[in-house]
């Protein structure tokens, strides 16, 4: 599915060049949940940003290849990359609030992705069910145009009132009134094909009451619901692969358990590949089939979850495992950083 070969990424900073990745090799097969673990700064996020070309301007991929289903996307055009992100590969970021647009409803945000990646399907659905394609709100223009009309009408109203010609202002009053009443008048209009697809996307992530949630703004939802909306967005473009960068770090454990269960369920139902980035080895043990351990911009060990946790080969993996409290009161073994220097 996704193959990363000898990936090297540098950052140009004021203090010189930071070598964030020193040759990362990863292969994620179809339909597998792959965990990527490592401590802060080991390069987990940079790996996934490099693979999707989402690096900031100071970052640069200086070597290696990225293959998606055999296609080399290392030097793909920006258009192709936009197709891939959100289309073939869905992405979930750590902090749902910063990734969701606070001034757009869930409906609008998911709708945007659907129009970008699933346009033909929306049109198909519309003609099949004989419903409007995009907007059920027929009389809605873009916010800028709406604002201009409103300002225009109100200035005319005040102008006519000032001139003492109240009757002339009536048509403008009518327009303003209609704009306010519009939402109310439109209640009975059937959902558009796009609306139906959005609701479908939300029910896929097991959000109860998707119709109501579609109308909400992100801040009106709980952390767990926001993360579900993020997952719905990542999957809306019919992604065959999901990259999740610390999807549950900001959540309570009970909610984390629900989200991980959801990712597992969807993965199974749709036979997706998942790359799960986390620093929590427990999460990996519970969710993943295979895991790679990252240290200082390199993969130091890769194996099935069973084997890596039973028989860790690399001393860094061993040190990581030893550092976790696991019941019992004996002193925790602290990894000696000096010893780990050479890899």
């Amino acid at each position: 599915m996704l193959e990363i070969k000898d990936l090297k990424t540098n950052f140009n900073t004021y203090d010189g060049v930071v070598k964030a990745l020193n040759g990362v090799n990863l292969t994620i097969k179809d339909g597998e949940i792959f965990g990527l673990v490592g401590e802060t700064g080991s390069g987990k996020s940079v790996t996934c940003y490099s693979a999707l070309k989402l690096l900031p301007k100071t970052g640069e991929v200086v070597g290696g290849n990225i293959l998606l289903n055999g296609e080399d996307i290392t030097h793909a055009s920006e258009d192709r990359l936009r197709q891939i992100r959100g289309g073939e590969i869905g992405i979930i970021f750590q902090d749902p609030l910063s990734a969701l647009n606070p001034v757009m409803t869930v409906n609008e945000q998911i709708g945007e992705i659907l129009v970008l990646h699933q346009d033909s399907k929306i049109k198909e659905l519309a003609s099949e069910k004989e419903i409007p394609v995009y907007k059920s709100e027929k009389w809605k223009a873009s916010p800028g145009v709406e604002f201009t009309i409103m300002a225009f009408c109100i200035s005319f109203i005040s102008l006519f009132i000032m001139l003492g010609q109240f009757t002339f202002s009536l048509p403008f009053l009518f327009v303003v009134g209609m704009m306010f009443l519009r939402d109310y008048l439109q209640k009975d209009i059937p959902d558009s094909a796009l609306d139906l697809m959005v609701i479908d996307a939300l029910s896929r992530v097991k959000l109860p009451n998707p119709k109501q949630i579609a109308q909400s703004y992100p801040h009106e939802l709980s952390g767990g619901m926001q993360q579900r909306v993020m997952i719905a967005m990542a999957l809306a473009g019919k992604a065959k692969m999901l990259i999740a960068d610390e999807p549950t770090t900001a959540l309570d454990v009970t909610i984390q358990a629900q989200i991980l269960q959801l990712i597992k369920d969807i993965q199974k139902e749709e036979n997706m590949s998942v790359l799960l980035i986390t620093h929590d080895l427990g999460v990996v043990a519970e969710t993943c089939e295979k895991v790679a351990v990252m240290y200082k911009g390199k993969i130091v060990e890769e194996n099935t979850v069973e084997r890596i946790f039973r028989h860790p080969k690399h001393k860094y993996t061993r040190a990581l495992l030893n550092a976790i409290p696991k019941g019992g009161k004996e002193r925790l073994k602290v990894p000696d950083v000096g010893e780990m220097g050479s890899i």
Binding site: T254, Q258, A285, P325, K326, G327, K329
Partner: protein
């Protein structure tokens, strides 16, 4: 059986919620009747989900916020029989200063707790200066730094020159400056990597042994809590729903929320039974208007939908609405209390 150093009795803290006219319409019941006894020289853990009132409990303990009702009773160990009253609320200003010397605090975010423009020397000596203990200050600061594994060479550096784990050590050194008897730790390792966390936990255990410190340890990481604590309380919506010695609580949880919490913690046992919590996290707001005041205990429409979505997966579950019923604390085992039927 060792001595109590603090007891918390019926502590409540209600924050008022105002409408636009400035009249109170509702209360956030951050603490709603908490009773706890903290033993000297032991580690007392507090767990619970975000917003259940852990930090508020700590702030009321330090008298950074005034409780709505209830009290914190100090032992003679702390008052040295010098105070007029053992009740935290009735302390005079002078007594409050003396009390604050005996209770140190470590917060979650080490960078937020350290002033980036101050030298380490000044950061660690700040409490000494405030409480006027300036004799031999330099030696004392070096001793404090040595205690946490840092040294003289770090005196003239700024916080940004240190790693996250080292910064947390500096915070601990400062918290210990006035030789407190109690250390309150609010998520001291949540921002740290496991290997650094291991260092800090070991350090805390060493310091406890050396100075017979009492810890109040707040965390949401149950594996850390299990490792550190002798006794612990599980909080839900401003109340303690279960309290027991650590081993007893981990092997024999009684309250449904505790069970779900234990099962939700990721660990290396793949076949362990999972209990999901379904439904929306309840709002901590209680309306003063009677008709809206009570949280519904019957199963909601949303929960019914969620139950349907996990049906046939062989998962156990509890629903949030069932947790809304307030039951009295009952003894369910040896010094093990839970709010169960």
């Amino acid at each position: 059986m060792s001595n109590k150093i603090l007891s918390i009795e019926g502590l409540r803290k209600h924050f008022p919620v105002k409408n636009v006219w400035g009249t109170d319409i509702a209360l956030v019941k951050a603490l709603d009747g908490v009773d706890l006894e903290i033993e000297e020289g032991k580690t007392f853990g507090i767990v619970g989900e975000s917003g259940c009132g852990k930090t508020t409990l700590m702030r009321t303990l330090l008298r950074l916020v005034e409780p709505t009702s209830g009290s914190v009773v100090l032992s003679d160990e702390i008052t040295q029989n010098q105070f007029l009253s053992n009740n935290l609320e009735e302390l005079t200003n002078e007594e409050l200063r003396s009390f604050r010397r005996q209770i140190g605090v470590v917060f979650q975010d080490p960078m937020g707790a350290l002033n980036p423009r101050m030298l380490i020397k000044d950061i660690v000596s700040e409490p000494l200066v405030i409480h006027g203990k300036t004799e031999n200050m330099r030696d004392r600061v070096i001793e404090l730094l040595n205690n946490v594994g840092l040294g003289e060479e770090h005196l003239y550096r700024y916080p940004h020159e240190f790693s996250g784990g080292q910064r947390q050590r500096i915070v601990i050194a400062r918290a210990l400056a006035l030789e407190p008897k109690i250390l309150v730790l609010d998520e001291p390792t949540s921002a740290l990597d496991v290997s650094v966390q291991a260092q800090i936990l070991n350090l805390l255990n060493d310091l406890q042994e050396k100075y017979n410190l009492t810890y109040i340890f707040i965390s949401h990481d149950l594996s850390v809590i299990e490792y550190m604590c002798d006794r612990l309380a599980v909080m839900y919506l401003g109340r303690v729903v279960e309290e027991a010695d650590t081993e007893e609580l981990f092997t024999n949880p009684q309250h449904p929320y505790t069970k779900a919490l234990l099962s939700a913690t990721p660990n290396f046992n793949k076949d362990k039974e999972k209990i999901m919590i379904l439904g929306d996290v309840p709002s901590p707001i209680t309306y003063l208007d009677e008709s809206k005041a009570k949280l519904a205990t019957e199963i909601t429409e949303q929960e019914r939908l969620e139950i349907k979505s996990i049906e046939g997966k062989g998962l156990d579950y509890i629903v949030r609405s069932s947790l809304n019923e307030v039951l009295p604390l009952k003894e369910v085992g040896p010094s093990h209390y839970a709010r169960v039927k």
